[in-house]
Amino acid sequence: MTDSALVVVRAGALTTVQDLGRAGHAHLGVPRSGALDEPAHRLANRLVGNPEDAATLETTLTGCAVRVRRATTAAVTGAPCPVTVDGRPAPWGAPIRLPAGAVLEAGAASHGVRGYLAFGGGIDADRVLGSRSTDVLSGLGPDPLAGGAVLRLGTPHGPAPCVDTAPGAGPVRELVLPLVLGPRDDWFTARALHTLGRGAYTVSPASNRIGLRVEGPALERAREGELPSEGMVLGALQVPPDGRPVLFLHDHPTTGGYPVIGVVPEHRLAAAAQAAPGTPLRFVPRPARSRAGR
């Protein structure tokens, strides 16, 4: 077996392989998938000299631990957490040199949810439709990590990292998300729009890579009936019959039959993916740009 591999020592609550996903197949029912906190994933890769589309490990709340068989460079970004190499403290958000046989551990997140572990050469899982990402909705891509599993590493490439450390974001007291109204905001009452902006929601522990679920008041419908299935975008805020909106993240279904009241711009989804359960949540509705200039 190759030395260019790592062995999972502690898998954590849910650790998956992620890259930038497999866009372009939605018409076949294939979700985009990919790292939920894309800037953190890209940064981790830059810190170890990888191209930004190399695959990293995405952890969930509790981190993970892996043993590397050969010497390599690693970096941990995303949700801030204690980092150790063979039990000794190591920097978070900076390149770490790992000797052959060392165990790198990312501990529980001090705040935030998703951590990213990059290794020189990237995780070399088989590609499915051009991507190494695990898609938890469809089951495409590699399995989530399990203790004892062995993952191949690619060949390290590129120049040495030009960044030494990267600043981390502080804890978020309230998640505030802009919401571009439509396409089905007319299915809801004016009061429902007011409710979204009132800050009456918290992030639900039932959230996952498919969607951020919320706890709070139901949104009131202005019309009954069923919506014929229609295409769904990343960041869509879909409102199922119980009235509690679900914010679609990267593993969301590509079509759906519940009305979408608005869409959160993609650049704010990393913050949504890092909002821990219980975080207060408020939406700031605005019309679509194309409508605003009317």
């Binding site: 849910l14 018409h27 089951g139 396409p183 295409g231 279904p253 200039g293």
Partner: protein, 261 residues
Amino acid sequence: MEGAEGVNEANEVAQSGSFTVRGLPVGDHALLLEVGSDEAVEALHAELLRRVGTPALPAVREIVPAARTVLLDGLTDPARTAARLTEWHIPALTRDQGAAVEIPVRYDGPDLRDVAKLWGVTPDEVVRIHSGTEFRVAFCGFAPGFGYLTGLPDRYHVPRRATPRTRVPVGSLALAGPYTGVYPRSSPGGWQLIGTSNAVLWDAAREPAALFAPGTRVRFVPQEEPLTPGQGGAAAHAEGTPVTEGLPRQSARSAANEVAR
């Protein structure tokens, strides 16, 4: 035809001889085009595919047809795209006369009798009518490889089951509303099950991975003998992993998804 006012609700952005297209904004980088029928979706989708990559329809990441809409995602300027659409003439549909994909089916589903009752015919007649129909994949969704197939006349549309099944076996041929579908993997489901197929609808190692894509024409061919798993369909080249593989892991995965307990 309406003027180029940008993407406004209920704004007609294009028309053909027989239908108009409404453009609805979806965030700042997508546009939902809505029409009145699945035939109109088919014509609009065909025209979008003809024009993608031309100045009429520049960079777009996804073109996703559905029941009454086509979603264009990944547009730099949806309002501009909508404005350009006003200049389009969408020609009437000319059906591709290529061969239909043939899916071998045993009409042995547990809901065949219920469907026969709903149709007011015998189970044998259901088989005759269903296998005598040419279907078309109107759109995909629900799972990779799952197609929503249209083709049955209105009088044969059936409701979903009152109580969904917790597990529908892989390969089940099923009806709901105007649609026929084949489950690409085992999952919970509320559709009426009328048969079983061994066609491999999705195989990530195959090119193309999906047997059904929007626009694919499909015929179901009744079989008397038991079907050999994973050998069926026009997927004569299907020899990849059976779609059932990894299902237990799927449920484990769903459980693991409930993060942050």
